[in-house]
């Protein structure tokens, strides 16, 4: 059974009298443990699809089954639980809480998972350690570089140990060296069995993935598997983003 299964998913945006289909009858299956890149020109529907996959948005028609469960049947409370436990979402614009320390940002999903404070703090520091930011745990987002902020966001996505990480242009706001660091980090997670789906415009970033989808005008026009990323790209850059 695939972890992610889209069946004839359509997402319509209505503006005034006109309707616009940002996704048109998309079918997609992603197995657990896959590392998938989504590319495509601007406006092709990548973010729209990611938001649906992340249970932040719902399809206008069609079915989305996550781990075998039809998401459309879930209540708002159950959807919140799915976002909390099953999915870690990384945004292009980081979406960290301002004026809140890195550690507290990472703790946020654990608060809603009802994890007691002491364990929460320990796990948040562990996650920050994994992304190489243990020394910056008390810094606020405004005191961190873009790359560091994205690492905090990844730590936050990781901290509940979800089986699925979704990243919409995680490197879109970062320079190329930092981008490679972030991708190395994500690629490293894959080793622990996490399924990763990410969106990118850069071919060298997409090259990290084992499977590459291309979208155009709300449909997937290409779906191919590719060789593992060049190991050199993953190791020539240090961990300091």
């Amino acid at each position: 059974m695939p972890l992610i299964e889209l069946e004839q998913v359509t997402r319509l945006y209505r503006s005034g009298d006109t309707e616009f289909a940002a996704l048109r009858a998309v079918d997609l299956a992603v197995e657990a443990g896959e590392f998938v890149a989504i590319t495509g020109s601007s406006g092709s529907g990548k973010s729209t699809m990611m938001n649906i996959l992340g249970c932040l948005d719902t399809p206008s028609s069609g079915h989305y089954r996550l781990d075998g469960r039809d998401v459309a049947r879930l209540s708002r409370v159950e959807l919140a639980a799915v976002r909390n436990r099953t999915i870690g979402f990384v945004f292009q614009s980081f979406n960290l809480l301002p004026r809140t320390s890195a550690a507290e940002n990472v703790e946020l999903p654990l608060i809603y998972a009802r994890v007691p404070p002491a364990e929460r703090r320990r796990r948040a520091l562990d996650a920050l350690e994994r992304v190489g930011l243990a020394q910056r745990s008390s810094h606020q987002p405004s005191q961190l570089s873009g790359g560091q902020q994205q690492r905090v966001a990844i730590a936050r996505a990781l901290v509940t140990r979800p089986p699925l990480i979704l990243a919409d242009e995680p490197t879109g706001n970062l320079d190329s060296a930092t981008s490679l660091d972030i991708m190395t980090l994500l690629a490293g997670l894959r080793a622990s069995g996490i399924t990763i789906v990410f969106v990118t415009h850069e071919p060298d970033i997409a090259a990290f993935a084992a499977r590459r989808l291309t979208m155009r005008d709300g449909v997937i026009v290409d779906d191919r598997r590719q060789a593992a990323p060049p190991a050199a790209a993953a190791t020539t850059h240090g961990a300091s983003a």
Partner: protein
């Protein structure tokens, strides 16, 4: 739902992040609660003081006035023709079984002059019985006597305030001379301190002379009528109403009033006086408290306003929280507790401020203060209720946001 302490912590952090705005919002509640507490405490203080003062006057006391109650007799006979004679007073004291003593009390405001100073005070003309009725002891020297009364002796008994003002604190007033309206009076005694009266007047600022002397020298011209109220004390609390009935029938008979004629006098018991005064105070207190409660309500609307602004301003934050798994109930609780905390902190500060201001006003104006714990509790509950009530709408609004819409909001 995450735990309440967790949510409270979250709310406190959010409020602290915008201290000035939180403070200004809480100010509405603070002022509302403080106003309620202050008003009610002062009102209660006034009420309880009136009660204790009147009780100190003597609970068995009945006041008798010239004039019917409908023609202003209650106001001490002012504006009405005096109808009660000396013989009436004597008869009331001598003939009525329910009456223990009766004493007239005429008064005038005038200057009293000693060798060293001049002081404007109230001079009363009365009989020795008055001090028995009022339960008022002589602290130094002696009191007025029956022979003073019979001989219209120019003797005076004075209160402590007058003693201080005329003779200073080092001098023994007994044996000194006071000139009132050009006549010298010997001070024979000083009364025990009595403090403030039911209307806030200083009861020790008084000079008492025999009513016979008062009529002859101060009021001017001998008269068969008593001016001012007559203090009557009943033999017991149970005898108050019988005493009033006996006074009424005696005076009707003495004044030869026909069955269809109205009383030309009126009586009022201290208990009635207490009731009238406290209910008047109560009305005022209720009025002030309702105005104060309205201001509390306005404070609540301020909380709602700020919470609405806060929800709009923090839409993106709400989106982030929802994206990482906050349930609608978590968001609801966060904003609700935030509003509640704001109102509760405002309420607590308001209670302290209200008591503080009340105490300040009380000591400044010589009022007394009675903080009623039930009112404090009600004010706190109301302010918390205001927090919930006016926080609910913004909180619900926040919890119903769509995650993706909230995240897109900038």
């Amino acid at each position: 739902m995450i735990s309440p302490t967790e949510t409270l912590w979250l709310a406190l952090r959010a409020l602290r992040r915008n201290t000035l705005r939180s403070g200004l919002t809480a100010l509405g509640i603070i002022i509302g609660v403080a106003a309620v507490i202050c008003m009610v405490s002062i009102g209660e203080g006034a009420k309880s003081r009136i009660r204790t003062q009147i009780e100190a006057t003597g609970t068995n006391v009945v006041l008798l006035f010239s004039g019917s109650s409908s023609s202003g007799g209650m106001r001490g006979g002012m504006g009405s023709q005096p109808t009660i004679t000396w013989e009436d007073v004597r008869a009331i004291q001598a003939e009525l079984p329910a009456v223990r003593a009766a004493a007239p009390l005429s008064r005038t405001s005038t200057q009293a002059i000693s060798e060293t100073s001049t002081w404007t005070t109230t001079v009363y003309g009365t009989t020795p019985e008055y001090f028995t009725i009022r339960n008022w002891a002589i602290e130094r020297g002696s009191g007025l006597t029956a022979s003073d009364q019979a001989g219209a002796a120019k003797n005076a008994v004075i209160g402590w305030t007058v003693a201080d003002k005329l003779f200073g604190s080092g001098v023994d007033p007994v044996g000194q001379v006071i000139r009132i309206r050009n006549a010298p009076y010997n001070v024979v005694g000083v009364l025990a301190k009595k403090g403030q009266g039911g209307m806030g007047e200083d009861q020790d600022d008084a000079i008492f002379v025999p009513v016979s002397a008062f009529q002859a020298r101060i009021q001017g011209g001998l008269s068969q009528f008593v001016r001012g109220p007559v203090y009557v004390s009943a033999v017991s609390t149970e005898a108050i109403e019988p005493a009033r009935a006996q006074i009424a029938s005696l005076l009707r008979e003495r004044h030869r009033l026909g069955p269809d004629q109205e009383d030309d006098f009126s009586t009022v018991s201290m208990a009635e006086m207490t009731g009238t005064l406290t209910s008047a105070t109560q009305t005022l207190t209720t009025l002030l408290a309702s105005i104060a409660f309205v201001s509390l309500l306005v404070g609540g609307i301020g909380v709602m306003n700020i919470m609405l602004v806060s929800v709009t301003e923090r839409t993106h934050e709400i989106g982030i929280r929802m994206a990482v798994g906050a349930q609608p109930g978590d968001i609801l609780a966060q904003f609700l507790i935030e509003a509640l905390t704001l109102a509760a902190i405002g309420g607590a500060i308001g209670v302290l401020l209200g008591i503080g201001v009340g105490q300040l006003l009380a000591s400044r104006f010589g009022w007394s203060l009675a903080v009623r714990t039930d009112i404090v509790a009600i004010a706190l509950l109301v302010s918390a209720g205001v927090g919930v009530l006016f926080g609910l709408y913004p909180a619900r609004k926040a919890s119903r946001l769509d995650p993706i819409e909230a995240l897109r909001y900038e």
